[in-house]
């Protein structure tokens, strides 16, 4: 399991646009870099990030090797109802990680 950091407000007003910042520990090995023995290191990157709000996709991103290591993403969503935010990272070599956080909307 990779370490993740998720900054999302715990509470929000209905209809408010909230900012969510996520970070995940991942090398994002590009596949263009040589290792210590001079051979190219195989690519190992995260391909896709998805943020769901009560199961509905509100934001997604396709990542390519040009995204820096430990991918950081800051985006926004509308606080519609009290529920759960789910964050999913998918990548090479079957990498899948899901984190979630509750949000209370008043």
């Amino acid at each position: 399991m990779a370490r993740t950091l998720i900054h999302a407000p715990k509470t929000a007003a209905r209809g408010e646009v909230i900012e969510i910042r996520t970070l995940i520990a991942h090398p994002m090995e590009t596949g263009y870099r040589a290792g210590p023995e001079g051979r190219l290191l195989p690519r190992d990157i995260l391909r896709r990030f998805t943020c769901r709000y009560d199961g509905e996709v509100v934001f997604a991103a396709d990542l390519h090797p040009a995204v820096a290591a430990n991918p950081y993403l800051a985006f926004r969503t509308v606080a519609t109802a009290t529920g759960t935010l789910t964050f999913t990272w998918e990548g090479d070599n079957g990498f899948v990680q899901t984190e979630s956080q509750a949000i209370t909307v008043t």
Binding site: V17, I18, T30, Y32, R33, A34, G35, P36, L41, Y53, E56, V57, V58, F59, A60, A61, D62, L63, H64, P65, A66, V67, A68, A69, P71, Y72, L73, A74, F75, R76, T77, V78, T80
Partner: protein, 194 residues
């Protein structure tokens, strides 16, 4: 770190170079026609450097930071066309926020945003970022829905060299908008070994 005296901006330096070049030419011409040059020779000496300076002056506007898509190299334009599905891409609406001079190409903070009401009928559906000189043209593609609230994202990317970045926004009405920016990178990312 503050440098003193401050380096003048590139445009000023180029103008100074041109002026210095003109002076040397003129001095050489006068030296050649040393003793009492007649009026015609003098005029000719003055005209020559003026003509030589014309192409230099014409090149000056290229130093501006904004980078139109039309000036982009072929493969970058091809990547943009693939994303737009052949639809015309117009300039505007998109804002790229990135430092003009980047010290470390391994992590370059970049923010992209598009002004949009983000309603069901009128919203931004995707923003793609492309680059000019990395091994791959694609950098990242963001997907939005009306529930995204605002089409504004920030992330960190790698840049292998000083180059142009292009962001293309796809709107719900099918139109595509672009913005370009030139970034100078002092320490290249991606390419050096571990």
């Amino acid at each position: 770190m503050v440098q003193w005296p401050p380096r003048p901006p590139a445009v000023v330096r180029q103008v100074e170079d041109v002026v210095a070049f003109l002076r040397t030419l003129r001095r050489a011409a006068i030296a050649m026609t040393a003793h009492r040059p007649d009026r015609r020779t003098l005029l000719r000496c003055a005209a020559l450097p003026c003509l030589a300076a014309l192409p230099c002056l014409a090149a000056l506007p290229c130093l501006a930071r904004a980078a139109p898509l039309a000036a982009a190299p072929k493969d970058l334009q091809a990547a943009v066309r693939r994303f737009a599905g052949g639809a015309p891409v117009r300039e505007g609406k998109v804002t790229i926020d990135v430092a003009p001079l980047v010290e470390n190409g391994n992590t370059v903070p970049i923010a992209v945003s598009v002004e949009s009401p983000m309603t069901a009928t009128e919203h931004v559906s995707a923003i793609a970022v492309f680059n000019e000189k990395n091994p791959e043209r694609n950098v990242v593609v963001f997907h939005f829905t009306p529930r995204s609230g605002r089409a504004a994202v920030a992330t960190r990317i790698r840049l292998a060299a000083s180059q142009k970045l292009v962001a293309i926004a796809r709107l719900s009405d099918g139109s595509h908008w672009s913005a370009g920016v030139d970034v100078v990178v002092t320490l290249a990312g991606c390419l050096e070994g571990s």
